[in-house]
């Protein structure tokens, strides 16, 4: 029988995880972990459930940033962001991932920690919005960028957990575009999250572009970003530039789509994201 410790506070969860060492793992919305047997993965001996910790359920709009507790579900996040256009990429990601019932269960912390889930919608959206992750661990807490977290998430020290995600408030315009094989209720084969700061003449002053589901882990696409700076956001132009930059990508093979297909359709999605952002102006 597996054991499940339902933590009542972050301190309780940290202590329980530290105590369990390699035999324990945190459990948030459970939608990824409950499918472990299908992936032929073993459960650890013990899980520490985070869902009952009030602090991890909060969404707070502060002066400089938006603070999102690790156990905020996609549905709650989408509802909270609906009146906040400055976080549009994240709002679209949270409101369109998987299907409505999964969105009621899956959490932002779970999306970030599911290392085997290449099609997680929130991850590229958070990268493009330059989010930081606050990690809590025994006796301290630390902040890391989402990109840094993705490189360390399978090797976190015992007792470490994602406490909250902090998304800076900016004047960037952003959007999140995804390609699914069905119209809805499906995981995307390609995700593009794009945020751009535009000057008064409509020229791009700075940009952050992230892609998900194309490779095994979501990533920032800096080579492409550099080509956007100093130019207007023209859908045809950026589609061409994305095509030129796509040769550095390594398409992920999957039963739903081959790697070459993901790379082939990516520039079109970039163009779509740019059209959407222009529509916000």
């Amino acid at each position: 029988m597996n054991s499940l410790h339902v933590a009542t506070s972050v301190a309780d969860a940290i202590a329980a995880l530290a105590d369990r060492g390699d035999g324990g793992a945190p459990l948030a919305g459970a939608t990824w972990i409950m499918r472990a047997p299908i992936r032929k993965e073993q459960h650890p001996r013990s899980y520490v459930a985070l869902a009952k910790i009030d602090e991890l359920q909060r969404v707070e709009l502060l002066h400089d940033y938006l603070s999102i507790g690790a156990c905020v579900t996609h549905a709650r996040l989408a509802a909270a962001l609906a009146p906040l256009p400055e976080f549009r990429a994240l709002a679209v990601a949270a409101g369109s991932s998987a299907n409505p019932a999964i969105r009621q269960m899956a959490t932002i912390g779970g999306n970030l920690c599911a290392a085997g889930f290449a099609a997680a919608d929130l991850v590229p959206a958070l990268i493009c919005l330059d989010a930081q992750i606050e990690l809590a661990m025994p006796g301290e807490s630390t902040r890391v960028s989402v990109e840094a977290f993705l490189t360390m998430r399978t090797d976190l020290p015992h007792g470490c957990l994602v406490r909250r995600v902090m998304v800076p408030r900016t004047t960037y315009r952003s959007d999140h575009v995804r390609l699914t094989l069905r119209k809805g209720g499906d995981y995307p084969v390609v995700i593009v999250s794009l945020a751009a700061e535009l000057g008064s003449t409509g020229v791009v002053k700075s940009a952050r572009v992230a892609i998900g589901s194309v490779e095994t882990t979501a990533r920032r696409w800096e080579k492409f970003e550099r080509l956007l700076i100093g130019h207007p956001l023209d859908p045809a132009d950026v589609t061409e530039k994305a095509t030129l930059c796509a040769d550095e990508l390594h398409g992920r093979e999957g039963v739903e789509a081959p790697g070459w297909y993901r790379i082939k359709v990516l520039p079109s999605l970039v163009g779509r994201a740019v059209r959407n952002i222009r529509g916000q102006c």
Binding site: N2, L4, V6, K52, N99, A101, I102, Q104
Partner: protein, 152 residues
């Protein structure tokens, strides 16, 4: 350790492993067989129940996380043997075919129509993206839901 649950407003106790999917406890221990086991991946929606009023897929919810929550299954929709308005609409529109998907469809749509009583056909279809009908009887299911929305 026994797990104390509230299912359809009744106190229940499960002795299963806390990681057991809620749907297995509902069906195998409590004999509430309305929620169906089909994909076990959260894609088909046949196991949809309400947890604290929200429709969730019970195949992906560990029963240990359902403790202290209010769980409602499709068996709770009728009152004293009288069908709910949506169940009646399903019957009137001949929406039920093989019987696998419609309990989940009812749980999703009842909750959705409570929130969006004047929903359009497109909104109803969007609400159903997580409920798969293997008989492809979608149009009559949407017709049934829309008959209530348009009558509202």
């Amino acid at each position: 350790m026994p797990l104390h649950l509230t299912v359809n407003d009744e106190d229940r106790v499960s002795v299963r492993d806390p990681l057991t999917p809620l749907v297995d406890v509902l069906r195998d221990e409590f004999f509430l067989t309305g929620a169906k086991i089909v994909c076990r991946e959260g894609f088909c929606g046949a196991c949809t129940v309400w947890v604290d009023g929200r429709p969730v897929v019970s195949c992906l919810l560990p029963v240990g996380l359902a403790v202290d929550c209010k769980i409602h299954t499709v068996e709770s929709l009728s009152t004293n043997g009288d069908l709910s308005v949506l169940q009646k609409a399903f019957e009137d529109h001949d929406a039920v075919q093989c019987g696998m998907c419609f309990p989940g469809m009812l749980m999703t749509l009842t909750s959705f129509l409570d929130r969006e009583p004047r929903a359009t056909r497109e909104e109803i279809k969007a609400a159903l993206v997580g409920n798969v009908c293997r008989c492809t009887g979608y149009e009559r299911i949407v017709d049934a839901a829309f008959s209530l929305a348009s009558a509202g």
